[in-house]
């Protein structure tokens, strides 16, 4: 049985799809921050990735150390087939639910709560 993807997990998987071969901690973090304005911590990325990896959604390979990283190695992530399937299921569901709602949503968010004035 497959568990559903959380929102953060979806963001991560989308980032992997976008980044392709260049996906590792720094690029993933910056991709998410640049597109969503959300600053996530490296710790959070790895915690979630470990979870996704345990479910077989992503795989990882260890890269080479660079001096800029203080001699630390990189961990590259790739999205796996099952991960891609789960992501597209989530995306379809979201897309279906959201279809045609843009104007209504805009309307709702731009509405101000009624103020009580005499």
């Amino acid at each position: 049985m497959t568990t559903r993807l959380g929102e953060f997990e979806q963001l991560l998987l989308f980032a992997l799809v976008r980044l392709g071969d260049d996906a590792y901690g720094v690029t993933i973090r910056r991709e998410i921050e640049a597109r969503t304005g959300r600053s996530v911590s490296s710790g959070a990325i790895y915690t979630a990735m470990e979870r996704l990896e345990a479910r077989g959604y992503v795989s990882s390979t260890i890269g080479n150390p660079t001096p800029r990283r203080g001699g630390k190695r990189k961990k590259h992530y790739r999205i796996e087939r099952t991960g891609a399937e789960a992501l597209s299921r989530s995306y379809e569901a979201l897309h279906e639910m959201a279809k045609g709602l843009r104007p209504k949503l805009t309307n709702l968010t731009s509405q101000r709560p009624a103020t009580r004035q005499s």
Partner: protein, 884 residues
């Protein structure tokens, strides 16, 4: 932040808190992004903010949201660790829920810990860090002593050095160094460089390896040797020759001679920084035995103690003093061997540093007491929670541990923030460079300092957490459960405890304030002391004359011509030359006796400093001529010797007699030159404001060519004169450099810079202590007043006037402050003797300081008691009663 820009501390934190899995990648990611993207784009401060928020969030994410697999691991793991982790998590949540409390607590601790870390990093660099030499425990510095004159460290003369070196049986080798200024020409502007002559083996004895090239070989100080070779100091090489290794083999023109650079010394203190250029001290069999100029080091043979070596050298000294009358020993020569560990800092610097470390220790204690008070209030507010946990079966130990975990967490966080403050403080002190702190450039955070901070942080956590932890209610469990946090249970005990803490805090603050007050008073006394000279609107600068000026009167002619030209400028009131300016390191000395009492004085010949001066020296420095006359252009150095002496010397040589016209013997015991006293001038403190005025002998410059220093008295700011000086001197000789240009005020200021620094530090610490004490008293008083709101309401309802109530509250509140002041005074009385060597003109028990500081603290207490009392009076009695 040098090669790797990410803060060391952050990496350490990540290392300590993250599990092995994933740690490498997280650390690498944060480092990489910080270095490549954040730091170049956001500026230092914002980048570090980013860094830390990122580190902390990563840590909290990895430690708090453990993945399922990890959670199971924990349960299987060590019970103690598991509960500890739960406790820490619990405290973090608790602190996050009360951010105001957390902020105040962490900041309080951070102040104390930051101050401690900053001072400790200086203490480490100055007192604890090993020297940059091989086997430093075998190294000693060698002095002669003259117990009969009360001199405890005399430099060696060249012949004495040679004899000790050749005759000893306990030393591997001895090396000597003496300063000599050199004119460097041929590289653009003529330049005066700080030079030093060393015996050839000097750097071999220290066991230092050159950065490039080699050090001197052992035959390079032999007379007649054509090897004119030089070694460069590291800083000089870096700044003057841009650190170019190709300098080795090139030649430099020093005092009109060509020297080949053979190597560059490594950076470091001491010795290696004594000069910019080191040249060999060519052995000179003719050197005068009574000229004590050599700084001397030695390396002990393996297994030989310093005491054994001293006995060995003293035996040689004994023979020398019998053999050579020019040593003027009159008693015996002793030897003094200082271990290398004492080289960096003089006794007074060491003592001042320990005192400052003690002072910040007090500050930290005050911070801890404050935190204990805060935690106590928090424990009271959470009495019900604790009671519930106890009722559900938590053991007393378990609850205590949880409270301790909270204060330890606070301690750790305080240490983290404190490190930040310390880094800022160290940068500040380094950029101010107050003077008088050796190795200041080497002060930094390193493993030792971090370890110290960690220990201090944990200790403060324990100290602050102990008192509240012992307050866990257990006996009155039921009442606590029933009454919750509004109950009266324990409030009596609590109140007493909190008052005690306030008393302790006031006592500690008073001790710090007394320390600061004593230093401030000393500084005040020092700046009011009668210096004997005027420093306002005076300018000093030096000119080095190469040996060509030694012929005939060439040197003094140049000096006189230059003075005449300076005198001709409209803003100049007076100008003169002296061969060693006041307040400088150099010193000169001679024995002097009065001719008519020579026999009677032979046992204890007075030792006077002497200066070559031109005629207007006294006028320029504002030294009064008391009797007789000063020099004229016609007076020259040499026979017939004529001297002006200082008042103290006059009184010593001819008590109750007019010294003018009398005969004295100069260099008594050495050359025995008869001289006539032509005048008496006022005393001056030429060795420093703290030293007694010197016994001084003034000799006319006429005919002499010693490197002169010029002093000019101007009508306005003396520094405006500077741009005109060089061209004016260049007209006389374009190859003479002008150096050491400083206003006399500035020289006076830097002669007391270390004292001012100590005073400022104590003042800062005492100020912080005062603020903490104020906050502490205020906190306790507010708490008590809040607790008594209903009581106050009833009393007001029954007709008590505002004044009565306020008076009563304030009186009660002042009790711990007053008791604290009393105890603190006793403590300060006991501790202040450690300060006595740092004081000037006042006693450690100076009553003005004690009364002033006591009053200040009492006023502080009064304000912090009055404000909450005042607030209580605003309570509506009806509302207060209804709450009951």
């Amino acid at each position: 932040m040098s090669r790797n820009p990410s803060p060391l501390l952050g990496r350490l934190l990540l290392r300590l808190t993250l599990g092995r899995e994933g740690r490498e990648f997280i650390v690498g990611d944060i480092d990489e992004e910080f270095a490549e993207h954040i730091l170049p784009n956001r500026g230092w401060f914002a980048a570090h903010l980013w860094y830390w928020s990122h580190v902390l969030r990563s840590v909290s994410n990895r430690t708090l949201h453990v993945s399922p697999s990890r959670r199971i691991m924990h349960q299987r793991g060590d019970r103690f660790m598991t509960t500890t982790l739960i406790d820490i998590k619990h405290s973090l949540r608790g602190l996050a829920k009360t951010p105001g409390f957390a902020l105040i607590a962490i900041l309080t601790l951070a102040l104390g810990i930051g101050a401690n870390t900053a001072i400790f990093s200086v203490v480490y660099a100055v007192l604890l860090q090993p020297l940059p030499f091989g086997n430093p425990d075998q190294l000693v510095q060698v002095f002669e002593t003259r117990p009969d004159r009360g001199w405890d460290a005399v430099s060696l003369s060249r012949p004495n050095f040679r004899d000790y070196r050749e005759q000893n049986r306990t030393l591997e080798d001895m090396g000597a160094m003496t300063g000599t200024d050199l004119n460097m020409t041929g590289t653009g502007f003529p330049e005066r460089v700080r030079g030093s002559m060393v015996s050839a083996g000097f750097f071999r004895i220290l066991q230092v390896d050159p950065v490039v090239g080699r050090t001197f070989s052992l035959d390079e100080d032999e007379p007649g040797s054509e090897n004119r070779v030089a070694l460069l100091n590291y800083e000089f090489w870096r700044t003057r020759f841009s650190g170019d290794p190709a300098i080795v083999g090139q030649s430099l023109t020093l005092d009109d001679e060509n020297y080949t650079v053979v190597g560059v010394l490594p950076p470091g203190e001491p010795w290696l920084d004594r000069a910019q250029i080191f040249i060999p001290m060519v052995r000179n069999p003719e050197a005068f035995r009574g000229n004590f100029i050599l700084g001397t080091i030695a390396r002990l043979r393996p297994g030989v103690s310093a005491d054994a070596a001293r006995a060995d050298l003293e035996a040689i000294a004994q023979r020398l003093s019998q053999q050579y009358p020019e040593l003027q020993t009159q008693g015996r020569i002793g030897m003094r061997l200082d271990p290398a560990s004492d080289w960096i800092a003089s006794d007074s610097v060491r003592r001042a540093l320990w005192v400052l470390l003690g002072a910040v220790g007090f500050l930290l204690l005050i911070a801890c007491v404050n935190l204990a008070n805060l935690l106590l209030a928090r424990a009271t507010a959470r009495q019900r929670e604790t009671a519930v946990r106890a009722a559900l079966g938590a053991s007393r130990g378990r609850i205590t541990r949880q409270l301790l975990a909270e204060s330890l967490t606070l301690g750790a966080m305080g240490a983290g923030v404190g490190l930040f403050l310390a880094v800022g403080a160290i940068r500040l002190v380094r950029s101010l460079d107050p003077g008088g702190i050796p190795r200041l450039a080497e002060v930094s955070l390193n493993g030792w300092v971090l370890g110290f901070t960690l220990i201090v942080g944990l200790l403060s956590g324990v100290i602050a957490g102990l008192v509240p932890a012992f307050q866990v209610p257990y006996s009155g469990l039921l009442t606590a459960l029933r009454e919750g946090d509004r109950g009266a249970t324990g409030s009596q005990v609590q109140r007493r405890l909190r008052s005690t803490l306030v008393g302790v805090e006031v006592a500690l603050s008073l001790m710090l304030l007394v320390g600061a007050g004593l230093l401030i008073r000393s500084f005040g006394e020092l700046s009011r002391v009668d210096r004997g000279f005027q420093s306002e609107n005076r300018l000093f600068f030096s000119v080095t004359l190469p040996p060509t000026y030694d012929e005939g009167t060439r040197g003094s002619d140049l000096i006189n011509q230059f003075i005449d030209r300076i005198d001709g400028m409209p803003q100049v009131l007076s100008a003169a030359a002296v061969h060693i300016p006041p307040l400088s390191q150099g010193s000169t000395g001679m024995g002097i006796v009065s001719n008519d009492r020579a026999d009677e004085m032979a046992e204890s010949v007075p030792w006077a400093s002497w200066r070559l001066i031109t005629d207007n020296y006294f006028k320029t420095l504002g030294i009064p001529l008391l009797k007789g006359r000063t020099f004229t252009d016609a007076d020259v150095v040499g026979e017939p010797w004529q001297v002006v002496i200082s008042e103290r010397l006059a009184t010593l040589l001819w008590p109750d007699q007019d010294p003018v016209g009398r005969q004295a013997v100069l260099w008594a015991g050495q050359n025995d030159l008869p001289a006539e006293v032509i005048g008496v001038v006022g005393d001056m403190r030429e060795r420093g404001l703290e030293d007694d005025p010197t016994l001084a002998v003034y000799i006319p410059y006429g005919g002499a060519s010693w490197h002169p220093s010029f002093v000019v008295h101007t009508a306005g700011d003396p520094l405006t004169l500077v741009p005109t000086l060089r061209p004016m001197l260049a007209e006389l000789d374009p190859n003479l450099p002008i150096t050491n240009i400083r206003s006399f005020d500035d020289m006076v200021g830097s002669s007391v810079a270390d004292r001012r620094f100590n005073m400022m530090m104590m003042l800062v610490f005492a100020g912080l202590a005062l603020v903490l004490a104020l906050a502490g008293i205020y906190g306790v008083q507010s708490y008590i007043v809040t607790r008594r709101t209903s009581e106050i309401g009833i009393r007001v309802a029954l007709g008590a006037t505002g004044g009565t109530v306020i008076r009563q509250i304030v009186t009660q509140g002042m009790v711990p402050t007053i008791v604290g002041i009393g105890l603190g005074a006793v403590g300060a009385f006991g501790l202040s003797r450690f300060l006595s060597s740092m004081l000037f003109g006042i006693a450690p028990t100076d009553i003005v300081t004690y009364v002033g500081v006591g009053t200040l603290l009492a006023l502080t207490g009064l304000v912090s008691c009055y404000v909450p009392a005042r607030r209580a009076m605003k309570v509506d009695p009806v509302a207060a009663l209804r709450e009951e």
